[in-house]
Symmetry: C2
Subunit: 128 residues, 2 copies
């Protein structure tokens, strides 16, 4: 148990506002403890926050990030429940792989534009 974080610490560490952090709590994603009237965030709260922000960078909604975080914590259950769980994992995997492809193509297209641009610059400085 390391020292807990205050809300402003997390906010500045991750470059978000305290309002945002409280909003995530309101949505049930974070469950900090209280000391007097102040919130205290544990390491695991911090991890969850990190996961949320990672999801955000990939364009996932809070709801989706929430589901993904749930996928990180396999719970025991009967065989059927575990199958549902495995299917969900598979779905997310497909989605992520699709994103990988999209990114590959975008990077290639950006590279093409860059090449054209550089060629034009080189040509220009040649003729100058």
């Amino acid at each position: 148990m390391s020292k807990p974080y205050r809300i402003s610490e997390l906010a500045s560490e991750f470059g978000i506002t305290t309002r945002t952090i409280r909003f995530y709590e309101e949505k049930g994603l974070l469950t900090p403890s209280r000391q007097a009237n102040s919130r205290l965030y544990s390491d695991s709260d911090r991890v969850i926050l990190k996961l949320i922000l990672r999801g955000k960078r990939l364009g996932f909604s809070l709801q989706e990030s929430c589901e993904i975080i749930a996928l990180y914590n396999p719970q025991q259950g009967n065989e059927k429940q575990l199958q549902v769980f495995l299917n969900k994992i598979q779905q997310k995997r497909q989605q992520l792989i699709q994103q990988q492809h999209d990114i590959e193509i975008m990077l290639q297209e950006l590279k093409n534009s860059e090449q054209q641009c550089l060629a034009y610059l080189a040509n220009k400085s040649n003729s100058a």
Copy 2:
């Protein structure tokens, strides 16, 4: 010049609504021609629509997708403008690479969860 598309054709091809397509036009992303009172979409309209949807899958806003599409069409300009252009490309590239990393990690974590789940299932069927 191939046969132009009607709005419902594009909608069903991409699995979106006609309202969405009209919305993109409203935002200036698409500029279909008109025949009488109907919209006619060209191949290039279709390409742009594809790019928008790709951006969406990666969590980009319409505004961002718009900027990325602009990056695909290098315009001539003076050296300074071209430098700005190259910088923007570089920025987007960094963002995409960050997303690649995020995806790698997520995929790994999903894999871990899957392994745990499978191990539990195997164990269970063993003891049965």
